[in-house]
């Protein structure tokens, strides 16, 4: 068994290294490849073919990958009968066209190989489990990356994935507060607003400031910070405000806390639109021209790291204290948990990540305006948390992708008037999507109160148990 695993692992690693190597060298070999496809140099005699070939080499000279690929495709399709394409050439062409995906795939195989070796030789069960999780995460990232390179960065799927990842972070942050600590807070949109604004304000490039702040003489701040620093600052600013507002409001009981935090979000929204703060916040005008992300991997990575931190926190002693407070405040206090201190901590941390989520949302939207961060946004996130299950991180993540996909994509058809034959489908017109959507949400809230996951987490070992131990309740322990 051990030797078997080792051999497979070695094969995987070799395969991986080969894939990474070929896609790295593919670029250098493209001119040679063009020669080999056209051994009799027919292009010399055919001017059309000559031009098509030149387009490829031009793209190569300019180091413009997109242009090269487009040219290559046209060249291959147009003159397929004249070119000699054997398997070797085919493979190298594939490696060139799918270079990034190949590297990603190679990386995946590499991690798989390492995990396999780990599972064969490592005696520590924890390390093995960690290995499997690392493998899964790699699969996820590689999958998303390959998908992005095949379906295009601006496709609907990618939009959903980007927004879903951001909402997942914000929903998990809200779940930390509402689901794990039992504090019913409705200030999420306010903290996201702070995050989005702080990110935008500090990351707009100095050269663009005059244009963005055209009504305020170029604005007050005349420097710009790197993207990641600005994102961290966005989180810190949200956390700072949370600390301040937490001082008074966290002493309130459940629904008073809800309404106070909701009110706080409204105040923040008004303050950021205030004309007197214009040199900093641009008043009620848009903030724009700040760095945005080009690849879907960025929100995935940032949201992933943040969610991981929240998950680690929930599994620590602090997390257990939070749950104790949620289940019974008085008993928790009697057990020596400092109620106020822990509530404050949960509130500040949740707001920190809401701020980071706000910064990501700003990047996703490419513009920021305070008007958009209304109570309705908080309600949406709350509904995501409820659909996923109060007190389940994986539930929140799952629900946010479902929520975004359903509201932005899958239910789109409900908004378009449809005619089948002579029959005009009734009710279908603009706005119907959201009606159906909110009815579904109400159904979940009323009849399926636990949400998708309840307070359980997605777990590999439980999933495996269910598959290996056969059907029936035996696997559910």
């Amino acid at each position: 068994m051990k030797i078997f695993k080792t051999i497979i692992a070695a094969l995987l690693v070799v395969c991986a290294l080969f894939m990474i190597y070929t896609s790295y060298t593919a670029k250098d070999s493209l001119p040679g490849l063009l020669e080999r496809m056209d051994p009799q140099n027919l292009a010399e005699t055919d001017s059309q073919m000559q031009r098509a070939k030149k387009r490829v080499t031009d793209g190569l000279m300019e180091d413009n990958k997109e242009k090269t690929l487009r040219g290559l495709e046209r060249y291959l399709n147009g003159f397929a009968d004249k070119l000699v394409i054997d398997t070797q050439v085919q493979y190298e062409l594939f490696a060139y066209q799918n270079g990034p995906s190949m590297i990603a795939g190679g990386l995946l195989l590499l991690v798989a190989g390492i995990v396999l070796i780990l599972s064969a030789y490592c005696k520590i069960a924890q390390a093995r489990r960690l290995g499997i999780h690392v493998l899964l995460i790699t699969v996820l990232f590689v999958g998303v990356y390959i998908l992005e390179n095949t379906v295009g960065a601006n496709s609907m799927l990618m939009m959903v994935l980007k927004k879903g990842a951001i909402y997942a972070l914000v929903a998990v942050a809200m779940n930390l507060l509402n689901g794990f600590t039992g504090l019913f807070s409705l200030g999420q949109a306010g903290f996201m607003l702070i995050g989005a604004y702080v990110y935008a304000i500090f990351s707009i490039e100095t050269g663009n400031r005059a244009q963005v702040y055209q009504y305020y003489a170029g604005g007050l701040i005349q420097f710009s910070l790197p993207t990641l620093v600005s994102i961290a600052l966005a989180g810190l600013a949200a956390a700072f405000f949370a600390y301040l507002i937490g001082l008074p409001v966290l002493r309130l009981k459940s629904d008073y806390l809800a309404i106070a935090t909701l009110g706080f979000a409204e105040i923040i929204r008004a303050v950021f639109q205030y004309d007197g703060l214009g040199p900093i916040t641009n008043g009620s005008n848009l903030l724009r021209k700040f760095p945005v992300f080009e690849t879907v991997l960025f929100p995935f990575a940032v949201a992933g790291v943040c969610i991981l931190l929240i998950a680690l926190m929930i599994h620590s002693t602090y997390g257990r204290a939070f749950k104790a407070i949620r289940d019974d405040e008085i008993a928790a206090e009697a057990m020596g948990i400092n109620l106020y201190h822990h509530k404050q901590m949960s509130f500040v941390i949740s707001s920190f990540f809401a701020g980071v989520g706000g910064a990501l949302l700003a990047m996703y939207q490419t513009t920021v305006q305070a008007k958009a961060f209304t109570a309705a946004m908080t309600y949406e996130i709350l509904l995501i948390v409820v659909i996923g299950g109060m007190g389940s991180i994986s539930g929140s993540i799952l629900a946010s992708f479902l929520f975004v996909a359903a509201s932005e994509w899958w239910l789109r058809f409900l908004d378009n008037a449809t005619v089948i034959g002579n029959f005009k489908v009734p009710l279908l017109r603009s706005g119907f999507r959201m009606v159906v959507f909110s009815v579904v949400i109400m159904a979940v809230v009323l009849f399926y109160r636990q949400g998708i996951m309840g307070d359980k987490e997605f777990s590999l070992s439980k999933l495996r148990d269910r598959f290996t131990r056969g059907k029936g309740g035996a696997g559910r322990v």
């Binding site: 008074p248 309130l252 303050v271 109570a375 706005g431 009606v435 809230v445």
Partner: protein, 295 residues
């Protein structure tokens, strides 16, 4: 002096008027909270639906039919919302009911958006109360003067209902102790339904008065007045009807004073700042009773 009055009187009148309208909404919040311990987030949207009903019915029917029909349909809606969205959750944790209320609010807003196409509708002019009058050199609509009077009359009638009738007695009992009053043979569900009916009735009247002044009706037009009315209810001490009315008048007047000072951006923010201050220093509000939690 005369100039000063004619310059500032409109703001004061508008404040009193809008305060009366908030009061009518706030009563709905405070009564539901008193009995169910629930912030009925959908109340503001019921208020908006009432406005839309009026817009659509007035287009096809004469006023003497559309006016009572609006009130009846709004009441039915409030009753229906309670039966469908809150009643099944009576044994559930309080957070679930609140989430259900948020869900209803979301649904109603989306439904209004769908039906109207999201465009602002012009609220019909109701004869007589939409007419303008001049007092002390200030021009205003009659509705501004009628609102506080009508509000006070309705509140007095409500107070008679609560203190002099059997159902009022039942309501007071249920708000004091839910479980015990059930054991005493009070039909809880009926009492709750009556509460929602009264709340929606007052919201329908409030909506007529409010939108006669601010005539653009959009699906989210009721959200802000709704929240402010809730703040008013908390300010006055939630569960207390006189408290809600006084709180609403104070908020309405303060808000318009702030507008008069030229800080319109902050008129909404002020309300919520007031809320946070009240909650921190006197969580029970002006007239609320302190509740002690037993272990």
């Amino acid at each position: 002096m005369n100039n000063f009055i004619s310059a500032n009187l409109p703001y004061l009148l508008a404040g009193i008027s809008v305060g009366g309208q908030y009061a009518l909404i706030a009563i709905g919040y405070t009564m539901v909270y008193g009995i169910l311990r629930l912030i009925n987030f959908a109340h503001g949207d019921i208020f908006t639906v009432a406005a839309y009903l009026m817009v659509y019915m007035n287009a096809t029917m004469p006023l003497y039919i559309s006016l009572p029909m609006t009130i009846i349909l709004t009441v039915l809606l409030g009753f229906g919302v309670e039966r469908v969205a809150y009643k099944p959750l009576r044994q559930a944790p309080r957070m679930s009911i609140m989430i259900s209320a948020i869900g209803v609010s979301y649904l109603l807003q989306n439904l209004m958006w769908y039906v109207t196409g999201g465009l602002a509708q012009q609220y019909p002019t109701i004869p007589f109360i939409s007419n303008t009058v001049r007092i002390f050199g200030a021009t205003t609509k009659i509705v501004t003067l009628i609102t506080p009077v009508l509000t006070l009359v309705l509140v007095m009638m409500l107070s008679l209902l609560i203190h002099r009738t059997k159902i009022g007695l039942a309501m007071r009992a249920v708000s004091r102790d839910f479980e015990t009053s059930r054991l005493m043979g009070i039909k809880i569900n009926n009492v709750i339904s009556v509460t929602f009916i009264i709340g929606s009735f007052l919201a329908a009247i409030g909506s007529m008065l409010y939108f006669s002044n601010y005539t653009a009706v959009t699906p989210t037009a009721g959200a802000m007045p709704g929240l402010k009315a809730f703040v008013a209810a908390v300010f006055g001490g939630i569960g207390s009807i006189p408290g809600a009315v006084i709180g609403a008048f104070i908020i309405g007047i303060c808000e318009n004073i702030i507008k008069a000072l030229g800080l319109t951006t902050f008129s909404d923010a002020f309300t919520f700042a007031l809320l946070i201050i009240v909650l921190v220093f006197k969580p029970t509000g002006l007239f609320g009773e302190a509740v002690y939690e037993k272990v």
